[in-house]
Symmetry: C2
Subunit: 496 residues, 2 copies
Amino acid sequence: MELLDQYKAIQKKLKAYGYVINVVGWDSQTEAPRGAFQRRAEMLAVLSQEVFKLRTGDEFKQAVYGLYERLDELDKHMQLEIKRAKKDMDKMVKIPENEFVEYNKLVNLSQRLWEDAKAQDNWDLFKDNLAKLVDYNRKFVSYYELDMEDYDVLLDDFEEGMTMKQYDHFFDTLRKELVPFVHKVLKDGKPLKKDFSTNSFDPKKQKEFCDYLIDVLAFDRTKGLMKESVHPFTWNTHPSDVRFTTRYLENYVFSSIFAAIHELGHATYEQQVDDKWNDTGLNGGASMGVHESQSRFYENVIGRSKAFWEAHYPKFQEIFPEETKDITADDFYRNANKVEASLIRVEADELTYPLHIMIRYEIERKLFSNEIEVDELPEVWNQKMVEYLGIEPPTNAEGVLQDVHWSAGLFGYFPTYALGTAYAAQFVHAMKQDLDLDDLVRNNNIKAINDWLKEKIHQFGQSKTPAELILDVTGEPFNPIYYVEYLKEKYTELYF
Amino acid sequence: MELLDQYKAIQKKLKAYGYVINVVGWDSQTEAPRGAFQRRAEMLAVLSQEVFKLRTGDEFKQAVYGLYERLDELDKHMQLEIKRAKKDMDKMVKIPENEFVEYNKLVNLSQRLWEDAKAQDNWDLFKDNLAKLVDYNRKFVSYYELDMEDYDVLLDDFEEGMTMKQYDHFFDTLRKELVPFVHKVLKDGKPLKKDFSTNSFDPKKQKEFCDYLIDVLAFDRTKGLMKESVHPFTWNTHPSDVRFTTRYLENYVFSSIFAAIHELGHATYEQQVDDKWNDTGLNGGASMGVHESQSRFYENVIGRSKAFWEAHYPKFQEIFPEETKDITADDFYRNANKVEASLIRVEADELTYPLHIMIRYEIERKLFSNEIEVDELPEVWNQKMVEYLGIEPPTNAEGVLQDVHWSAGLFGYFPTYALGTAYAAQFVHAMKQDLDLDDLVRNNNIKAINDWLKEKIHQFGQSKTPAELILDVTGEPFNPIYYVEYLKEKYTELYF
């Protein structure tokens, strides 16, 4: 089929452009000197224009729509790829070019404004731009002329197949089952015997320990590496080159350790996707939610487990003999799982984390069904913080202004964080039918866990939808109760 | 002028492609995991094809030849740029595409063969490919139909304006004036009192010292950085992002120090080119020779000077207190300038280095005037080593097979190394009319030296030819006698 060749040829070019732009991004985020950025922006603008021309050009449109009309003649994977390409193309062609350009300018400006607003704790500086961003998103959704609620369209953008109906059920479960438990832990849980989390640990030695950990977790260093950056992240171009970063804070040793394990989880997923998807549109992780399920699995289920620290605390002691004189493996495990009502999402512990997400979901949901307006956000935010976590942010910088997402026009993104963590619990429930997880962790056989995940989840890339993956791996559709049960069991043992 | 816009638009795209390919190259040479390279090659092939299409496309041809016909209407810098672009284009269009493709395949294959041949000390494995590479170069030169000797065409490719006539004069001077002096030093020079050059020095501390040095040498870290790689090199995209590497060998501390200073010399040059050339074809260093003059100036004239080590040996002692117990600043200075007859060019000292180059020049010169054939190279090589340095390579791996250049089809490149070093001596002679170089080095005011070089040489980028630069900076044409005098003076003081 000529159309198919045409489609593949353009896709190959898009992949090549994406590849090099990606490498430049890695360099920008990990080592480029300050002086590099102005010229870099000019040069990337030229390439971005080439990419835009390819993506929106008649040739690609022709190929995508042409193939969509002849779906029956394609194999099932190409069908899936073309359906998704067509869905994206539909959205793209319906936005007038001038509005698209204006919107991108607005996003760039808003991100700078948000940085200032957060630094100065000045909500007024940002709110008009945020309102414009919301309006643009509402308008774009209306252009798509889909038979869906506005917010459902946005939710589906970040997690294919997820709608308010399902998220409502998810968050209702959390509200009903988890919130009372969290309140109980915060009120009646026995306090830590020894809190050393803000003690000083030499960053260079932290790096040595993280290096040890990534070998423990069987990360393939011939196909990736770990580096340092201000904000930890995972980066990949294809399964044989997957990298991640962590950061070393002298007075918060858990930051480097759990950021490293979290990002390693994302990275292991990407490394284990089958190479056969490299040249297709089905490469990489299945969805944001499934991706987060893997990072949270490695971080929380493995990394914050008792068995893990029984096995690896001795190495930590070896590296920090002075600093750990009065600290036991059990102290370490308990510190790594310390629960507290806190203001900042990215610093929240495993148990209270989903409540931070719930607040954002409820706000976005009301915003896009016109039940609240942008002006009201600080007040609504603070009310919900009091309701769910019992604390009120003293400043907007520590409240409604804390996250970058909205300034980048990303609405519908937040819920995938909690969803992924809940997916993880359901996957773990299935994994435990096949593997003695605790035993493998304690005996340092992470490879067996990686292999299970590869076979059941990772290898498939995007060739299964999140819902298909969950059904295939666990034998039932997504069910948030596994998440609630996992948290209740773990934190009951820790706190009561 | 529409043609000028067309030319500039294509050049901008070429610069953008060059930029990203460059960043990928930096990543490849400094940190990419082994697994990255196969996919990387596939993706870069797609971009290279786009670059090839742009460079050889009718639009660019039209622009270059069209502008060449209307040179009078252009300003003097654009005239220079278009003349050079036309010269390149002439060469490109005269090579049949299939031969160009075949040649590139041959180069790729030959580099792999050369690696094996060198590793196995097996000349026969490589010689036929080398003969083919020589033949291709002879043939391509004949296609250009220039009224020049074959080797002159190649020499001019690497150093604009240089021909055998000038190089002969240069190397004749060295043969006559320098070779007897080198023999005298090797025979009668007083030996080192204390040779510590292969003592052990912790690579981590070596890095600390190199970090100190690059601040001493006033390198602008907001516009660049130093990293580590197997083969030290300098990399730049534009004056605000210039990077270089060094390597740390535990048992050869001079490697990290002088590779760092050498590459910093290249890097300082690139940082100090005026930003006004960024979007033109006149950006970057003036030529390979002028570039090498700067790296050798920083490495040898500053870095291997007595004044430099009087100023900075105390810091070295501070970092290596145990290792330097019995070593004085004077010992350090003498070890850094140790002369010996050695087999390998890249490890040669400052005094014998040009003799290694002379051998390569004489061989290339005879090869391209058909006075010798590839088959004879090992024998000719060894004869010349005995003649100039008094030693015979025991293997071809340590002789004719040692350098990568010929396997990459680079003929005419070598002489620029010696030429650049000689340029440096002439520049220094001029610099000393304006500056008290020793005093500035001793008192740690390298910035004043950088400023002088910026004003006289660096700022101009490629807007002056090497010959123009030398005339403007020193008031006379290139004269190799300054180089001979510099070496004789320095090494007489050291060795007699």
